[in-house]
């Protein structure tokens, strides 16, 4: 059957426009032919949709006309707020726009003034003179620095019996360092050298040989304390296989080493220490062992001579304990230790960059 005729028939059927005989014949065909039936069902739904679409469209048109008529007859008047009401109304409506416009205007003004300053070629003569003076000041400063460098060189007189003891690290930015007790054993004087090669005089504040820990304090007028330390002294326990790293001075330059926690006890089951697998040399003694969060978890103090890469570290809890006991005994030693690391989540290169300024080489002048 022709599709057009079929559709027309379906439409007439759905609208009830068929005569009795035709309707029965059509219903018979629907029954026998599921394809036709499906088409009729679908078209029924579609026609309903169309009817509703038409009705709503006509209703909308009527609404529109009515609005227009009522407006012309004056039954609908625009509500136009007057006086202050109007201002408040406009403000309420447009304040967001005004805020945006104002901030854009502000930014533009800033940008233009910035550009003007950048581009404007001539600086007044006074400024140039001022600059000249500053250059002079700089020159003077360099001269004094040269003198100071000479002083520094003289700090350690040539010919003194120096033992390059090991490594130490800052625990309080005021100048308190922690190292291994064996590093400074038998020392008459102690010097520490930072990663830039500057020497500072230091004194031994406390040494605990049973724990192999010592506290040094830099007492040197050239020492500039920093505001805070990037790493903290950890209090939490560590897990086996946790990756760790260390910085130290096995040679005249700072050296970085990486390893992992291999046992929670030290030599012969020593519970005060950890066993760590890391490559280390004698100069590394007293260096910090840090975890990936940048917390000091221990201090490197010994290595097993019979095995390669096995070192031991005193647990960081003992550092805090020792500092606490020193503070109790001597109220003059105001050592403040931070537990919190500010380099958590940084990549290793950045972490090391921040830490290395606070790792010092310990040089010892023997008695």
């Amino acid at each position: 059957m022709d599709q057009i005729l079929l559709l027309e028939a379906a439409e007439r059927y759905l609208r009830g426009e068929m005569g009795e005989v035709e309707r029965l014949a059509f219903e018979e065909m629907r029954k026998n032919n599921p394809e036709v039936d499906q088409m009729v069902v679908e078209h029924h739904f579609f026609l309903d949709e169309m009817d509703r679409y038409g009705d709503v469209k006509r209703f909308k048109a009527n609404l529109y006309d009515t609005h227009h008529t009522l407006q012309e007859s004056g039954d609908i008047k625009e509500l136009s707020p007057h006086g202050t009401g109007k201002i408040a109304y406009l403000w309420n409506r447009y304040r967001r726009t005004i805020a945006v416009a104002a901030s854009i205007a502000g930014l533009t003004a800033l940008l233009i003034s910035g550009l003007t300053i950048m581009i404007s070629p001539k600086a007044p003569i006074q400024d140039i003179e001022a600059l000249k003076r500053q250059v002079n000041i700089l020159e003077k400063r360099t001269n004094t620095q040269d003198l100071q460098i000479n002083d520094v060189r003289k700090k350690i007189e040539p010919g003194t019996n120096i033992k390059f003891g090991g490594t130490s690290f800052m625990v309080d930015p005021k100048g308190y360092l922690v190292t291994s007790a064996h590093v400074v054993k038998g020392a008459s004087r102690v010097f520490v050298q930072n990663s830039r090669g500057e020497d500072f005089k230091a004194i031994l504040v406390h040494a605990d040989e049973s724990k192999d820990l010592a506290i040094l304090k830099i007492e040197d007028e050239d020492f500039r304390s920093s505001a805070s330390l990037p790493y903290g002294i950890g209090k939490s326990s560590t897990d086996l296989a946790e990756p760790v790293f260390t910085l130290g001075y096995p040679k005249d330059e700072i050296v970085y080493g990486e390893g992992y926690m291999s046992a929670k006890t030290g030599m012969k089951g020593d519970t005060m220490a950890y066993q760590i697998s890391i490559s280390a040399n004698p100069g590394n003694s007293g260096g910090p062992i840090l975890n990936r969060k940048g917390e000091v978890i221990g201090i490197l103090n010994a290595r097993q001579t019979t095995a390669e890469g096995v070192v031991f570290a005193v647990k960081s809890q003992h550092i805090t304990q020792m500092i606490d006991s020193v503070k109790k005994k001597d109220s003059a030693q105001q050592i403040k230790v931070s537990q919190f690391s500010s380099i958590k989540g940084m990549d290793r290169v950045q972490q090391v960059k921040k830490i290395q300024d606070h790792i010092y080489m310990v040089k010892v002048v023997l008695k």
Binding site: I4, M50, V56, F59, L63, T69, D75, I76, L79, R93
Partner: protein, 188 residues
């Protein structure tokens, strides 16, 4: 009972799309909604749009066979308009404070939900109609919306006879159905 009977008459007229009924309801209620919208950060155009949408909600409800309004038409229109306006404000995030309600309101959530569904179908049909282009759109609207017969349509659109018009109508209808059902199945 006088007012109630009058309202019943008006609603019946509204359901039949009678201009007189629409105009009467419009005249009685427009200024109320106009105040509501304009005093809550809306414009005159917003007021007109919201009021007319509320009228459509009422129209859809009035067309249901088992429809009966449990409150005054005024309360109903106010409640619907308020909800519609709140929704629009939320969408635009133009204003955070709630719209104060000085008038009595009735719960209209169910009616709103059914309106939203119907409106979605209306939008799909309107979009499909927009896509089939001319003369298809006018031709189909003449037949299905304005209920003109094929003779009139053939004369109006300049077809030589009703059969040609029928042919053209059939082609247009197939395209419209295809577009409509594609969107309809996607949307629902």
């Amino acid at each position: 009972m006088g007012t109630n009977e009058r309202e019943q008459e008006l609603l019946k007229g509204l359901a039949n799309n009678e201009k007189s009924a629409i105009e009467a309801i419009y005249r009685d209620n427009y200024s109320l909604i106009q105040h509501l919208i304009v005093q809550n950060n809306g414009t005159e155009d917003d007021a007109r749009d919201i009021f007319q949408e509320a009228m459509i909600v009422l129209y859809e409800q009035a067309r249901n066979i088992d429809f009966s309004l449990s409150c005054a038409v005024r309360t109903y229109i106010y409640s619907v308009s308020r909800r519609l306006w709140l929704k629009k404000l939320q969408q635009n995030r133009r204003f955070e404070t709630p719209v104060e309600s000085l008038e009595e309101t009735v719960p209209v959530e169910e009616d709103m939900a059914s309106h939203e569904k119907l409106n979605q179908q209306y939008v799909i049909m309107r979009a499909a109609m927009g896509k089939i282009g001319e003369p298809c759109k006018s031709l189909l609207e003449a037949f299905y919306v304005h209920h003109k017969n094929m003779m009139e349509i053939a004369a109006f659109f300049g077809y030589t006879n009703a059969d040609n018009a029928k042919n053209q109508k059939y082609k247009c209808l197939m395209r419209l159905k295809k577009l409509f059902f594609a969107q309809y199945k996607n949307g629902i």
